[in-house]
Structure formats: structure tokens, C-alpha cells
């Protein structure tokens, strides 16, 4: 008989349920907490320069996060989100990609962004929504994006980037590009309908996209066990006929290895791959959040020991690729650089009033020109009420 249902046709005569946990996917771990390699594990091919770039990116983000959260507390920026605990997941995966692979992230992936070369000034300009911000000061802090480095501008609505990544990767394939798209999202965002749509469409249309789920245990206050009852996110792969792998997201070697494999496979077979990173969101959800309302200090402490950066540092030192003293000096210098850059960025002017109206359409429609003229006339009348823009236009 033909099989139009697209389902296995093997027969059984006794009624029995398949368990909701019939598939258990193990977690790939390569690097131990003390910087040594697990017995039986193999270190992925990684040259010193790349390894150090990875390390530097993680350190950069760790220190930037610390500084900018403080800046938020001081009221210098309005909002901030840390990557704390997930630096290896975001940097390790980005490092396994080609520079022209598109990155479509959720918001907590500044590690990937830094690895791609987003400069300190660019970070600052976005965070202060000043006129040098690539995004023209239009989005809340941490909504970075840059065409030059193939990093799609972050969008707050969760999950929307997932089917978009499928479409982007499909277009790459159609163009004959030898590039993939990586799509990051949280285990919370994986509950959105867009997740289902995006993964299924990528599988059906054979789009070379790497779905990278950061399962960090929480979606704001909601723990993963109130988010889903399945065994993590990786097991959903079979639902889409998609290969999947689970990695320790605090183990940069495991993340690097898995992503490299995924990229190779995706390009060679024109197929999507699902990676689940298991780590822990060590910080608060955002500067507006206080995790003490929903989880214990003990739990946090337990996970703090699982620090992705120290592990990698120990490994690099063991390799003889990193000197701890030099590293310390470098970090201190970085702290100062960040402070300096912050002071510069916060003094840069806000975008000019014409950027209220630009980019809604490629060319402003007549109504927008009219509204802009009216607004300017109004501001001229009440300059004190609009100090940011008043007097800055002809």
C-alpha cells in the first residue's frame, strides 16, 4: 500500500501507549569544571588564535554586563540584560560559524555579537540610543543589529525570528550561498507557535538553519517545568524529523563541537539541525527583574560553580595559551575602557528629528512629511518642552 500519511507503517496488535519520555537525549560534555577533558572525550580542532578570541569575547561580555548593569542601577541607561552563565553557549556557537552565516538572536546573545566583532563603541551607542547607534536610537537597550557582520537586529516579540530564520536560510540556499543561519531562542520562546511553524517549515523545505535553543531553566519567573513536560527541547526534533543534539551550554568545547558538526551537516545535506544548550541563567532576567521572588539563593549558588568562563580559562592555561596574570591586567584595562566609552557615548546627542519619520517606509509617504512639518512647527513654538530636538533642525 502507498503511504500518503508519511508515517511508519509497522503493525502492532496490542494497544499500548508510547511513553511521553520514550526518547532520552544525553548531554554532550567535553570540558570538566577543573579545565580538564572528560575521559573518552575528544577536544575539537581549535587553534590558539580562535580559542583566545573565544575567551576574549566571553570575558568582554562578562565585564561589559557587569559594568552596564551597574550603569543601569545608576540610572545612566534605562534597561539592561546580562548573558551571565551563557557566555560559552553564545560564543562557542558563533565561533563555529562562518563570518557570513546569518545570526538571528533573541536578546541574550551578546557573546555571539562580540565574537563577530561588534565594537565597544557600537555596544555603547545602542545602549544609549544616541545618534551613532546603527538602530537610530529606536529600540530599547540590547536590541543590537548590524548588517555588516550578519547579525539581524533583535526584535522583542519572542519567537518571531524562528520562522524568519527558516526563510532566511532557504533564501541562502536558493541563492547558492554556502552559508547557514543560526537562530537562537530561549526554552520559554520555544513555547510560541512560531517555534512550531519555523522548525516544521525548515524541515519540510530543507533550509540549512541551526536552531540553537538556550534552555537556561527560566523564562523570567517561570521555571522550565512549568514551561513544558517533555524531556527538554531537543526531543522535539523527532516531531519535525530533524536531527538534534543536546550540549552542556557551560562547556564551550562541547558547544563549539556540536555547532561545527551542525553547520557541516546543514550545509552538506541542506537540512536544519536542533541544538539544545543546557545552562543556567545566572543573573536576573533583566534589570527590571528580581529573581529572589521565584528561586532560591542556594540554587543560584550551586550553578554559579558551573561557570563557563573559569572552566575555559583553566583549559587555556593548561594548554599554555593563556597567562593568568596577563589576563588579569587585560581585564582591568577593559573595565577602564568600558567606563571611558560609556562616558563618551552618553554625551553623544540623540538622533535628529528627521529620524522619527525615516525608515517607516523606504521613502516617507506624504502624510509623514506633513506630520513632520507640523511637529517641527510645534517644537519651534515650545522649544523648552522638547529639549532633545528643539533647536537642532534648520
Amino acid at each position: 500500500m502507498t503511504n500518503p500519511n508519511n508515517a511508519t507503517i509497522s503493525t502492532v496488535h496490542t494497544a499500548e501507549f508510547t511513553s511521553g519520555h520514550a526518547l532520552q537525549i544525553p548531554t554532550l560534555r567535553i570540558l570538566q569544571d577543573d579545565g580538564s577533558i572528560y575521559p573518552g572525550a575528544e577536544v575539537p580542532q581549535l587553534d590558539q588564535a580562535t580559542a583566545l578570541k573565544m575567551y576574549d569575547s566571553m570575558q568582554f561580555i562578562r565585564i561589559l554586563d557587569e559594568r552596564m548593569l551597574a550603569a543601569q542601577r545608576q540610572g545612566r541607561i534605562s534597561f539592561y540584560m546580562q548573558c551571565l552563565g551563557e557566555e560559552a553557549a553564545t560564543v562557542g556557537s558563533a565561533a563555529a560559524l562562518d563570518d557570513k552565516d546569518m545570526i538571528m538572536a533573541q536578546y541574550r546573545e551578546q557573546g555571539a555579537l562580540r565574537y563577530r566583532g561588534f565594537s565597544l563603541e557600537q555596544f555603547m551607542n545602542q545602549l544609549f540610543s544616541n545618534e551613532k547607534d546603527l538602530g537610530k536610537g529606536r529600540q530599547m537597550p540590547v536590541h543590537y543589529g548590524s548588517k555588516d557582520i550578519y547579525y539581524m537586529t533583535i526584535s522583542s516579540p519572542l519567537g518571531t525570528q524562528i520562522p524568519q530564520a527558516s526563510g532566511y536560510a532557504y533564501a541562502q540556499k536558493l541563492r547558492g550561498l554556502k552559508n547557514t543561519t543560526i537562530c537562537y531562542f530561549g526554552e520559554g520562546a520555544a513555547s510560541e507557535g512560531d517555534f512550531h511553524a519555523g522548525l516544521n517549515m525548515a524541515a519540510v523545505h530543507k533550509a540549512p538553519v541551526i536552531f540553537f535553543c538556550r534552555n537556561n531553566g527560566y523564562a523570567i519567573s517561570t521555571p522550565a517545568n512549568e514551561q513544558f513536560k517533555g524531556d527538554g527541547i531537543a526531543c522535539r526534533g523527532v516531531g519535525y524529523g530533524m536531527k538534534a543534539i543536546r550540549v552542556d551550554g557551560a562547556d564551550i568545547l562541547a558547544v563549539y563541537k556540536a555547532t561545527q558538526m551542525a553547520r557541516d551537516y546543514a550545509l552538506e545535506h541542506e537540512e536544519p539541525i536542533l541544538i539544545e544548550s543546557i545552562a543556567y541563567r545566572l543573573g536576573a532576567h533583566s534589570s527590571s527583574d528580581d529573581p529572589s521572588g521565584y528561586r532560591s539563593k542556594e540554587e543560584e549558588e550551586l550553578w554559579r560553580k558551573n561557570d563557563p568562563i573559569s572552566r575555559f580559562r583553566l583549559w587555556l592555561v593548561k594548554q599554555g595559551w593563556l597567562n593568568e596574570d596577563e589576563d588579569k591586567t587585560k581585564s582591568d584595562a577593559l573595565r577602564q575602557e568600558i567606563l571611558d566609552a560609556l562616558k563618551v557615548a552618553e554625551k553623544v546627542a540623540k538622533p535628529g528629528i528627521e529620524h522619527l519619520m525615516s525608515d517607516v517606509y523606504e521613502t516617507p509617504i506624504p502624510l509623514l512629511n506633513e506630520q513632520l512639518e507640523e511637529l517641527k512647527a510645534h517644537i519651534r513654538k515650545y522649544p523648552d518642552a522638547y529639549p532633545v530636538t528643539a533647536g537642532r533642525f534648520e
Partner: protein, 325 residues
């Protein structure tokens, strides 16, 4: 009477509703143990148990669908959408399902008792994904009721009326007033009827109308105008759907002028409906064109929010334009 801010008033309303009727169930993202990211459902899980106040997975379409199902069974779900900007994944469930449930079934089934609560509007440096005012999208959908309170006492009375309403209601909460707006609120159960506007101030030269968070904005403008001898009638619409045409028309018959203010973009905003209806009902009484003071036709900006918003100065100018036409 007690002093409450708007969040406390909403929390108090939910508490009373849950105590009164065990069909009332509150849920949404982070609504359970944590009490919601704005804490509107604080302590409700503790008091009424996890079955009646809980976190949902992160899926607005799921929340809305789940709420439709519960309401169809006869319960009274009060579902929170964390920000009104994130109500759009639920748009199909709300516009094609919630709104048409009773009609399409010939009244075999209905989702009366269902309330979507959602914080809307700007003023919190949220940019275009934490500031939207999407009421007009829903106002074009027969079958829904839409309510926006302006202060704690209203929030409580309108929310209780919404939960007790035989029709589904979208309840937009002005998030910038959550803590900023404080007032005396009765601790008793009370309802404020849906569909009725409130005339806050009598006047004879011009009618100035808004709802929710914009009420304090227009009041400021009205005060400026009054200082110059312009007598303003001030109306809080309170319900967007159904809206109180009679109260507005009566006022405009008297004043001959109308200024409408809302935060959503001008084009296709609800002011358009009001203006169209009133120009027809009051044609011979209108002394000047109806003025709309609204958001610009752009996504809600961040750095230049002040320039975007229909503030008191723009409203004041419109009042003067209207009166001096």
C-alpha cells in the same frame, strides 16, 4: 475606603472576584507564584491555589485559546497578556474565535465571562514593543467589548464589571499609571457599568475627549485653555466598544467643537470612528473641524518618545485651533 494605586486596585478586584465566584481563574505568563511582572496578580496563587492562579507556557495564542475553552465551559478566565504589544500572536483566537463564538453557534455556546487584561501605552521608555495602544485593532471587531480605566477606582469597578459581563472583554490597563495613579478606592465589591462615558467637567466652548492614561494629559491641556477663558467639557470615554455615542453627541451639540486625543497612531485609530460618527450626528452644530491629537504614523519610538506623544501642548494647540477656527 483605602488608598490604592492602580495595581493594588486591580489586585483587589481580582481577589474579590475570585472569592465571590470560584469560576474565576487568573493565568498568564509569570502570573502565578511571582504575581505577574507588574505584580497585578500578587498573592492570588497563595490565596486561591495553583489551580486557579497559574503561570502558563510562553504562548499568547495558547493563553487566548485556553481562555476561550475555559469560558466556553462556563468558567470566567481572566487571562493576562504581559504587554499589549504581545497580544498579536493571540489575534486570531481573539478576533476570529472569542468575538464570534456566540454568533457563529447561534448562542449554543459563548465565551462570556472571559476577560483579557493587558498593560498598554507608553511613558516607560519602552520603545515600540512595550508601548503600543492597540485598542483600535479590536474595536473593528464586532463581538468584543473594550474597556480602558483611567484611575484606581475606575480600574476596580470596570474590571469587576468586565468579569461579570456576559460578553468577552479586553481590558487595557495604562501601565504608566500602575504605580503613579493613587486614589481612594472602596474595599467593597462594586461595578462601574460598561459602555458609559463619564463627563468629568462641564463646559461650553469645546468638548475634549480621551480615555485611560491620556485623561491626565487632556486635563492639563484643558487647564491651560481654561486659564485663557476657554470653557471645556471633558469626557472620559471609558469604553471603546460599545462607545457612548449619545453622551459625546450631546456634548458636541452643546459645544459645537470636538478634540479627541489618543496615543495610538492617527491613521485608523479610534478617534477616526468617533470623528466620523460625530460629524454625521452633529453636522449642523459643528463650528469647526473635529481635531484629532494622536500618535504619529510611525512605530512608537524610543529616543524621541516625547516628540511622538500627543501631549498636553499638542492638545492645547488643538483646542485653540478648534475654538479659533
Amino acid at each position: 475606603m483605602a488608598k490604592m494605586n492602580m495595581l493594588q486596585a486591580i489586585n483587589n478586584a481580582l481577589d474579590l472576584a475570585m472569592a465571590k465566584d470560584d469560576g474565576v481563574v487568573c493565568f498568564g505568563e509569570d502570573v502565578g507564584h511571582f504575581g505577574g511582572v507588574f505584580r497585578a496578580t500578587s498573592k492570588l496563587q497563595e490565596k486561591y491555589g495553583k489551580a486557579r492562579c497559574f503561570n502558563t507556557p510562553l504562548t499568547e495564542q495558547g493563553i487566548a485559546g485556553f481562555a476561550n475553552g475555559m469560558a466556553a465551559q462556563g468558567m470566567k478566565p481572566v487571562a493576562e497578556i504581559q504587554f499589549a504589544d504581545y497580544i498579536f500572536p493571540a489575534f486570531d483566537q481573539i478576533v476570529n474565535e472569542t468575538a464570534k463564538f456566540r454568533y457563529r453557534s447561534g448562542n449554543e455556546f459563548n465565551v462570556g465571562g472571559l476577560v483579557f487584561r493587558t498593560p498598554y501605552g507608553g511613558g516607560i521608555a519602552g520603545g515600540h514593543y512595550h508601548s503600543q495602544s492597540p485598542e483600535a485593532y479590536f474595536a473593528h471587531t464586532p463581538g468584543l467589548k473594550i474597556v480602558v480605566p483611567r484611575d484606581p477606582a475606575q480600574a476596580k469597578g470596570l474590571l469587576l464589571a468586565a468579569i461579570n459581563c456576559p460578553d468577552p472583554v479586553i481590558f487595557f490597563e495604562p501601565k504608566k499609571l500602575y504605580r503613579a495613579s493613587v486614589g481612594e478606592v472602596s474595599e467593597e465589591y462594586y461595578e462601574i457599568p460598561l459602555g458609559k462615558a463619564e463627563v468629568l467637567q462641564q463646559g461650553k466652548d469645546v468638548t475634549v475627549l480621551a480615555w485611560g492614561a491620556q485623561m491626565e494629559i487632556i486635563q492639563k491641556a484643558v487647564d491651560m485653555a481654561q486659564a485663557e477663558g476657554i470653557s471645556c467639557e471633558v469626557i472620559d470615554l471609558r469604553s471603546i466598544q460599545p462607545w457612548d455615542v449619545d453622551t459625546v453627541a450631546e456634548s458636541v451639540m452643546k459645544t459645537g467643537r470636538l478634540v479627541i486625543n489618543h496615543e495610538a497612531p492617527l491613521t485608523g485609530g479610534f478617534a477616526a470612528e468617533i470623528a466620523s460618527t460625530i460629524q454625521k450626528k452633529c453636522f449642523l452644530h459643528l463650528e469647526s473641524p473635529i481635531e484629532r491629537v494622536c500618535g504619529l504614523d510611525i512605530p512608537y519610538p524610543l529616543a524621541l518618545e516625547k516628540e511622538y506623544v500627543p501631549d498636553h501642548l499638542k492638545t492645547y494647540e488643538a483646542i485653540k485651533r478648534s475654538v479659533n477656527f
